[in-house]
């Protein structure tokens, strides 16, 4: 009987190791496919090269890194204020009865596939930008706008959780000392929930950098250094997504190498977010 129980426990241990195993497999295979190319043309040429011309063997991804950076920055500039506003609105400014309606609505919006957002961006946003602001419309601006909508639920739900986790005495104490509701929110509650809010922003950032489909649909696929928000561009993710279908040999390896860079960036962000949210619990 005891032997059987021990065996079952070992079985469960094996099953539980699956997530770590998969993570290890992902890391291993992405590196195995992509690293040879990085070593072949040199990390500097790969990361800082400004020309991506697979047919000539040129694999510089600096324009993609820059574009990823700008699209994400734009999304954060739009998303953080909006996200914070929504969070404060949800947790402090509305009666609980409406909150019960709104929160599920936000979760539902988070569940909408990214291709839907991309489609809307393509149909509505791109022509708008093209007509009113100039340029091809397929632009970093469009990307940032759509991305900000996509990361909003992430920022809102996690920030709200951090606010909710604060001891009620914080708010009660501030109000008792004569602070107004707004003063309490801005000077007491938000600073106290800071690490949780920052964690939510970092997770949102990770989501933004990793977004592929919507970006393919509205960024425009221009493989050059972007000079303005109205330029078309290609991010690390769209680089992979667009060319993986027909790449082979060195070209394919270069796409995996792009994946390595992406993987690094996002893993770093996520680990940072994990540590931040663990710290908050203390």
């Amino acid at each position: 009987m005891q032997v059987k129980e021990k065996m079952i426990e070992k079985l469960f241990l094996l099953i539980a190791l699956s997530s770590i195993t998969i993570l290890a497999l992902i890391t291993f295979f992405i590196f195995e496919e992509g690293l040879p190319l990085i070593l072949k043309i040199g990390p500097k040429a790969f990361l800082l090269g400004e020309r991506w011309i697979p047919s000539k063997g040129l694999f510089g991804i600096f324009p993609m890194i820059t574009s990823s950076f700008w699209v994400t920055l734009g999304a954060l500039i739009l998303g953080i204020p909006l996200g914070l506003a929504c969070t404060i609105f949800l947790s402090e400014l509305i009666p609980p009865s409406i909150g019960i309606l709104l929160r599920p609505a936000i979760q539902l919006l988070a569940a909408i596939p990214s291709v839907i957002y991309g489609f809307w961006g393509l149909i509505v946003l791109v022509p708008l930008i093209q007509n009113y602001l100039g340029g091809p419309g397929l632009s970093i601006l469009a990307g940032s706008l759509v991305l900000s909508f996509m990361i909003l639920p992430t920022i809102i739900t996690i920030s709200e959780d951090s606010l909710k986790a604060l001891p009620p005495s914080y708010k009660a104490g501030a109000l008792a000392l004569g602070a107004t509701h707004w003063q309490t929110i801005w000077r007491v509650l938000i600073p106290a929930a800071k690490s949780g809010i920052v964690a939510s922003v970092i997770l949102g950032m990770g989501r933004a950098i990793g977004e592929t489909m919507a970006m393919i649909m509205i960024l425009g696929n221009a493989v050059k250094m972007p000079t303005s928000f109205l330029d078309s561009a290609r991010t690390l993710t769209t680089n992979i997504g667009i060319e993986m279908g027909y790449a082979s040999g060195d070209h394919r390896q270069a796409l995996f190498a792009t994946g390595i860079v992406l993987f690094f960036i996002i893993m770093a962000l996520n680990i940072l977010a994990i540590f931040l949210s663990r710290r908050r619990v203390d």
Binding site: L13, S18, L23, I106, I112, W120, G210, T237, I266, M267
Partner: protein, 261 residues
């Protein structure tokens, strides 16, 4: 206020697609297969593809996820092993889908020689939904009062019996909700699916056949500009499906939480 504006815009996005797409959703749309590269006909083969892929994903992802949760909650205290497992799960949750696509491509399609197939896509999706299943299953198991287990042990039950006859059945609603949420996510997943299951419009004949899911079909229609009408229709179908699944999941969560407390 800024907050309401944002939510309003997002709802407008959905309404736009639904308004253009709903008229397309007559019964034949669902029952016909795409003809002429998707310009005409319906989306039947993509619906089958979506179902098949999700089915495989759940088939592999659910047992692994629930098993992990059982291990974490029933067989260990907070220890090095459990911390490592949790860390791995959290990291896995943050991996973007295009990376899963690359991984699935090189591992399942190429190395394991499964080719672009329902199997490759489903296994990749299983890996993607694993963190979600693990965390929801863990929450459900955590919510079961220790007294349930104590009673079982006092009646002479073994650990295995306690888990299978007491813990899991009680945690089932929560676990099911987690699986439902994963289904919703799988349906909307595109990047990883294109790279592992292909984009063939032909009705699949086996688990090794390539297929196109609804979301991939939607993406291809929109990007290649094949047919706006079909794109709207597919998009509307996609939105309705995902919303329906998530609303059921939320209703279940409400009912389950109220039942518990």
């Amino acid at each position: 206020m800024g907050a309401l504006l944002t939510i309003a815009v997002m709802i407008l996005i959905l309404l736009q697609i639904l308004s253009e797409g709903l008229p397309v959703l007559y019964l034949r749309f669902f029952l016909d297969s795409p003809k002429n590269m998707g310009r005409e006909g319906g989306i039947f083969s993509t619906i089958i593809g979506t179902l098949a892929l999700t089915g495989v994903a759940i088939l592999f992802g659910a047992p692994l996820g629930v098993g992990t949760a059982v291990f974490l909650r029933e067989y260990t205290r907070e220890s090095k092993i459990s911390r490592i497992i949790r860390f791995g799960t959290d990291c896995l949750a943050g991996v973007p889908s295009i990376i899963f696509g690359l991984f699935g491509f090189v591992f399942f399609v190429i190395r394991l020689k499964l080719g672009w197939s329902i199997l490759s896509g489903g296994l990749t999706l299983a890996a993607m939904i694993l963190p979600t299943v693990i965390s929801t299953a863990e929450e459900s198991i955590k919510a079961i009062p220790p007294s349930y287990r104590e009673v079982s042990y006092s009646l002479g039950g073994t650990k295995w019996q306690t888990i299978t006859r007491v813990v899991l059945p009680s945690a089932l609603p929560g676990i099911f909700t987690g699986i439902l949420l994963s289904v919703g996510r799988s349906i909307g997943e595109t990047a990883a699916v294109i790279l592992t299951a292909g984009s063939s419009l032909v009705m699949p004949t086996s688990l090794f056949s390539p297929i196109r899911t609804m979301s991939v079909h939607f993406y291809i229609l929109a990007r290649e500009g094949i047919s706006m009408k079909m794109a709207y229709g597919t998009g509307a179908a996609l939105i309705l499906l995902v919303l329906m699944i998530n609303m059921i999941a939320q209703w279940l969560i409400n009912r389950y939480i109220r039942h518990r407390t």
